[in-house]
Amino acid sequence: MKESLKPPIVLTAVCVIVSALLVFAYNFTYVDNTGVMTEQLSAGCREVFGEGEYHILLEKDTEKKTPVTFGTEGVLAVITDGKDKCLIELEQDGYAKDGLHLLIGLDTEGRIKGISFLGIGETPGVGTKVQQDAFLSQLIGYGTDTDDASIDGVTAATFSSKGMKAACRKAVELYSANKEAIFSE
């Protein structure tokens, strides 16, 4: 009887000990950055608009810091300087799932002023070519009336190019639909 009980007891003990240690490790290393203006985000904002005071729009009625996303899928945060500048942080599928992590800056007319890359998980040397000026410069001035077909994609990086265009479309549509709400604060 004792011999047959030993294996499950040992296995359970190993699982419990490992899980307990991982709880400690998690509490020790995890930092909740939701709704916090990190150094990386500030740097991205400065890259697009230059120096300024930027903050993330947060839901007012909750205790926790929940960024306003206007119900748009993929949008992580909306950042403004409270006057006329607006940046939208979003993740978009490229060739990799959520491979494009972007900060898209919009001017007062709702056109794209600049794009900053917060992270890129696309194939190095292929999908990452969407970061080059030859492609990015076509997206400056992108608005709701821009025809996606007028923008040349990057050869061999079709999915990444489409992802970039989809991200831009999402950003300008969010802006045009919620312009008042963004600057109401």
């Binding site: 499950p8 190993v14 995890y30 992270g119 998980g121 194939t123």
Partner: protein
């Protein structure tokens, strides 16, 4: 069983003679997937080394306590614990590397080098040899990944650790960072290692030519170490 061997041999055998990637052909998934950049390859190799050393250490400590019937689940839980730990640490302190390794970081759990060493070595040997074995195998893995990553980045992206190289960066050979290029480079590196080690192809399948022979007990009828580890 290897008590007569000097401890340094446990360490050095993983570097070339029993190199997990280039000789035993284990751990092919991360070898081909994350070696598009030299920095990713180093990161992946060091993360795997950490898990390998820690899991070998713990498993060789617990080898008397864990019953044979549940040894594999216990090993996997311990390995998965260390992998989760390293991914927490990496997410906190190296977010860039964490993002570029992506799912392959968590997939270290099922890297057959780690379970293979746990089953074939750490569960039969004392603590110190097991740690040295893990360290040697891990560094051998890192070295192989680093060679692969460097070659693929230099030829495929025209850079090395992100530093642009003259001539090559103008027209990089994209095939090298595509999946097919990974196989080409791996094949060439293995061929080169075999040439340097003066290894002849085996005339018959026997324990003599098997890199796992030292740990499997040299029993010709029961040559299972390779096939077990490969699973």
């Amino acid at each position: 069983m290897n008590e007569n061997k000097p401890l340094s041999a446990e360490f050095t055998k993983g570097l070339l003679k029993e190199n997990p990637v280039l000789v035993m052909l284990l751990g092919m998934c991360p070898t081909l997937a994350v070696t598009t950049l030299a920095s990713n390859a180093i990161g992946m190799g060091l993360a795997t080394t950490f898990v390998l050393v820690c899991s070998n250490f713990v498993i060789s400590l617990l080898k008397g306590i864990i019953p044979k019937a549940v040894r594999l689940p216990c090993f996997i839980v311990i390995i998965a614990g260390f992998v989760t730990l390293i991914s927490f640490v990496m997410q906190r302190f190296l977010p860039g590397l964490y993002e570029s390794l992506g799912v392959f970081l968590t997939l270290i759990t099922v890297n057959c080098i780690i379970l293979g060493r746990a089953e074939a070595f750490a569960s039969k040997n004392k603590v110190l040899p097991s740690v040295l074995d893990g360290l040697g195998m891990g560094l051998g893995f890192t070295g192989a990944l680093f060679i692969m990553g460097s070659l693929r980045e230099i030829f495929g992206a025209g850079s090395w650790f992100g530093i642009k190289l003259p001539l090559l960066s103008e027209e990089p050979m994209l095939i090298f960072i595509m999946p097919a290029g990974g196989f080409f480079v791996l094949g060439c590196v293995i061929a080169l290692v075999n040439k340097l080690a003066n290894k002849k192809p085996p005339k018959e399948i026997s324990c003599e030519n098997c890199p796992s022979a030292a740990i499997c007990g040299k029993n010709k009828d029961k040559c299972t170490a390779g096939s077990e580890a490969a699973e």
